[in-house]
């Protein structure tokens, strides 16, 4: 029972971080700030949810798999945010000539 309350609290906290990422995506002034909001807030939200789900798993193998999903997302959203910011920046300053970076 105590575990269930803790798991539900972790999931609600994760949902709040998704909401924070959404507010950032909708309200931040320029494209770099919006990319910054989504990459970090969403990854943290998924991390909290995945921790909650992993705590409920009976077998440790599945729990590790759930946490590995979060690790994959953490690594890939960092890389994706960098790729997108770089492409947006190159388009802005260089206008297609591919010389700025």
């Amino acid at each position: 029972m105590v575990v269930n309350v803790g798991v539900a609290a972790l999931m609600c906290l994760g949902g709040l971080f998704f909401l924070a990422g959404l507010v950032g995506l909708l309200r931040f002034p320029d494209v770099y700030a919006r990319i910054h909001a989504v990459t970090k807030a969403d990854t943290l939200g998924l991390g909290l949810v995945a921790t909650g789900v992993a705590l409920t798993q009976a077998s440790p193998v599945v729990a590790v798999k759930v946490l590995l999903i979060w690790m994959l997302t953490a690594l890939s959203s960092g890389a994706a945010g960098h790729l997108l910011c770089r492409a947006a920046y190159l388009e802005e300053v260089d206008n297609g000539r591919r010389e700025a970076l």
Binding site: G15, D42, T43, V53, V62, L68, A79
Partner: protein, 83 residues
């Protein structure tokens, strides 16, 4: 606790639906692709919670596929279609 899982899923799906506003308004391609990244993260968390609430362990594998596909989509878009 299927009710809690369904409530969480409805909340996150509402979040994702609101993010479609950014897809529609843009203004840059990076904004639109960032909303796609949000979909991937949010929907894999929905699948994880549903696998717990409905007691369906196979949904964890579906969430893994979602996370992997979101990565591949973003890299393919930036490296092939855009820059």
């Amino acid at each position: 606790m299927p009710e809690f899982a369904f409530g969480f899923a409805a909340f996150v799906l509402l979040t994702v639906a609101t993010a479609l506003v950014r897809v529609a308004r843009g203004p840059t391609r990076a904004d639109r692709m960032m909303a796609a990244q949000l979909f991937g993260t949010a929907l894999s968390s929905v699948l994880l919670v549903l696998s717990w609430g409905l007691d369906r362990p196979e949904l964890v594998d579906v969430a893994l596929v979602f996370a992997a596909l979101a990565t591949v989509t973003m890299v393919a878009f930036v490296r092939r279609a855009w820059w």
